[in-house]
């Protein structure tokens, strides 16, 4: 017993010395920025795309001379997609690594748990994906958000409903049951009411289910015109495959971003992915400088396609670098002030943090509607950025 205690003590001591030694030796001439992403766990795929995009942008920025002669150093922590782990990761970054600011933040639940820590410690945190509305509704001056909140995801889709799909009258909403889905579905119900649509059902599900048929059979029985789904990636694929199995034929299948825009969706849902619509925040064809270039470069380096999550991370890195560059000094307070006065055009769109409705420090951006057409994710709405004509209503399964 005694021996093992001594041993554990020794190991801890060595570990402590080591961690201090390492962080102090690098600290000299770099600016440390902490990033929290889910690199393992069931959201790891999203974290991976963002991680790669962060590193890609970091390389470009440091190669171009860094920030006022200093290089940026990213300390990337894994949240494993769990709020409690995310929280301790942020605490570690703030107190042990002493980062000047924070970035990343995937999944609303994890981000929600972490931003409070950042605010308490007065460390600026640029959230680039966590999209539950309440993240920027607390009036916390150290929390900034690059991406639009989830309630605004279906912006382009709403205008599509008003102008093209005017015969859609009834809606079924299926959503994953964490903060992202709950928040998104509630706001979508409000939007439907504003558009004069009748919401027949709204149901959550636990992500990772094997069988969605009990849920889908209810949708089928209610005969909704529009099925709106807020799902992470593999649930999205299964939902579509099982809709096909059940011969569920609404006029429109629409995904609320997240899982429905990833290349993996097409790979896993295969034929069932065809003609599915999705809201999205970004596509390579958006009219922002650098958007297509980012996509091409990502494909060239990593040999796989990227999508809006990657663009968010890539642009967030540029926003971070820009704020650090303009900050009067490298204290957390000055960096926060610099971040607040950001006015930058990025590959993800123009970035400017404003206050509106209940939100503070929120970037406002238009959204887009995409559709999977014969294996390609085409932008179909609004018309001025469309890469292909939309197909509406989507053909019945038996007629494909």
């Amino acid at each position: 017993m005694k021996k093992s205690k001594v041993l554990i003590g020794l190991i801890l001591a060595v570990a402590l010395i080591f961690s201090f030694g390492v962080s102090q030796s690098i600290a000299a001439d770099t600016i440390k920025v902490g990033i929290v992403l889910p690199l393992t766990g069931k959201l790891a795929k999203f974290g991976e795309i963002e991680n790669k995009s962060f590193l890609m942008a970091l390389k470009e920025i440091n190669a171009a001379g860094g920030v006022n002669g200093k290089k940026i150093e990213l300390i990337i922590e894994d949240t494993t997609g769990k709020p409690d782990v995310g929280r301790s990761a942020i605490e570690k970054l703030i107190s042990l690594d002493k980062v000047v600011m924070l970035g990343g933040g995937y999944s609303s639940s994890v981000t929600w748990a972490t931003i409070a820590v950042a605010q308490q410690n007065k460390v600026p945190f640029l959230v680039n994906t966590g999209s539950a509305d309440k993240i920027t509704e607390q009036g916390w001056e150290y929390i900034f958000r690059l991406n639009p909140p989830v309630s605004e995801y279906p912006g382009a889709f709403a205008s599509f409903l008003e102008t093209i799909a005017t015969d859609v009258k009834t809606v079924a909403i299926l959503h994953e049951n964490s903060l992202f889905g709950q928040s998104g579905s509630k706001k979508f119900v409000k939007r439907c009411e504003a558009l004069g649509l009748e919401v027949l059902m709204k149901e959550g599900y636990e992500a990772g289910a094997i069988d969605f048929k009990p849920l889908l059979i209810k949708v089928k029985a209610k005969k909704a015109d529009l099925v709106y789904m807020i799902s992470y990636i593999m649930d999205a694929s299964l939902l579509m495959r099982q809709s096909k199995e059940l011969n569920l034929n609404p006029k429109l299948f629409v995904g609320g971003a997240a899982g429905f825009t990833l290349p993996e969706f097409k790979k896993n849902a295969a034929k069932a992915s065809n003609f599915v619509y999705s809201a999205t925040l970004w596509t390579p064809s958006v009219p922002y400088p650098g958007a297509q270039a980012y996509y091409d470069k990502f494909v060239e380096i990593y040999n796989e396609p990227t999508e809006y999550h990657g663009a968010e991370a890539y642009s967030a890195m540029y926003v971070i670098a820009d704020a650090l560059k303009r900050a009067k000094s490298l204290t957390r307070k000055d960096v926060r002030n610099a971040l607040a006065s950001t006015n930058l055009i990025t590959a993800f769109g123009p970035v400017k943090f404003i206050s509106y409705d209940k939100k503070t420090n929120q970037n406002k951006l238009p959204t887009f509607l995409v559709q999977w057409i014969d294996g390609n994710l085409e932008t179909v709405w609004p018309k001025n950025v469309a890469t292909k004509g939309y197909i509406y209503p989507i053909p019945k399964w038996s007629k494909r």
């Binding site: 795929k45 049951n177 149901e203 599900y205 009990p214 059979i217 295969a270």
Partner: protein, 291 residues
């Protein structure tokens, strides 16, 4: 009515598969008295084997049963022989050391899978993955129906195996009373090794037949370990018939819960039954079936 029948079908088909997942754990738990918390992770390994065979060699998932099951049997044997059995001899602070060891093994397997295959989602697409047939208005997924019959087949086989073969009898003897079995000349160490191998092979079968309809990534094991645990408790330790009833109960409860209460309460419903069984039927369905 259509909704009710479709839910019933979904519940039974899923339940059969759950039964197969729980069967292996039940066997291991019955014989060794430990919870194998790497059960889902072993299933994950089998799923990766199926994926590799199908993706690189074009072998049909059902044929790969002949590879994944022996492979997992061997893996199970190695785990029991070289990691769990040595622990039995060590006087340790915690008697649950073996359980902790299985947790560790589960983690190691997950991280090895991540190292080799990254966190990417994989799936096996076959011509029958999305195929269905209709009886009236009720849709049956062909892959799930096949999975169901394979699960039932394995359960019947295990039932026969435990009742009629020498090794089967030794396994039951060890499960009932280890010391007595030892005195009767049963090599209980060898039996534990074989049992762990069998349990792993059974969950490998479950993973392989699940592959055409589901998907795969390194962290997929955890939720299935949890499900297997619930099924084992429902069915009763070491009971083959109990495992299949436990699986069906869980499958049906989840399906009907999803239809009539809400799919968001999926896990809650399963765990509620778990608690009810612990309270009112400790020992599980085995108490009713006596087998």
């Amino acid at each position: 009515m259509e909704v009710f029948l479709q839910t019933l079908v979904a519940g039974i088909l899923k339940g059969g598969l759950y039964g197969l997942i729980g069967l292996g754990m039940s066997l291991i738990m019955g014989v060794m008295g430990i919870i194998n918390l790497a059960h889902g992770q072993l299933m994950m390994v089998a799923m990766y084997i199926t994926f590799v065979l199908s993706h690189y060699l074009g072998i049909d998932p059902y044929l790969s049963l002949f590879v994944s099951m022996p492979a997992l049997f061997l893996l199970g044997v190695v785990i029991q022989k070289y990691t769990l059995n040595p622990l039995m001899e060590v006087d340790s602070i915690l008697p649950e050391n073996q359980v902790l060891m299985t947790v560790g093994i589960g983690m190691v397997l997950t991280e090895i899978a991540r190292f080799i295959f990254t966190s990417d989602y994989k799936s096996v697409r076959t011509s029958y993955s999305d195929a269905t047939f209709f009886l009236g208005e009720i849709s049956f997924s062909i892959a799930l129906v096949i999975a169901f019959f394979i699960a039932i087949g394995f359960t019947l086989f295990m039932f026969w195996f435990l009742l009629k073969t020498d090794i089967g009898r030794s396994i039951r003897a060890t499960a009932q009373d280890k010391d007595a079995a030892l005195l009767m000349g049963v090599n209980s160490k060898r039996i534990t090794v074989i049992t762990f191998g069998l349990g792993s092979a059974l969950v490998a079968a479950a993973g392989t037949v699940l592959m055409p309809v589901y998907y795969l990534f390194p962290d997929i094991g955890g939720p299935f370990t949890r499900k297997a645990f619930v099924i084992t408790i429902l069915g009763g330790l070491g009971s083959t018939v109990g495992a299949i009833f436990g699986g069906l109960t869980l499958g049906l409860a989840e399906a009907f819960g999803a239809t009539y209460i809400g799919m968001a309460y999926d896990d809650m419903i399963g765990l509620l039954i778990f608690i009810l069984v612990l309270l009112f039927l400790p020992g599980g369905f085995k108490r009713l079936t006596k087998i």
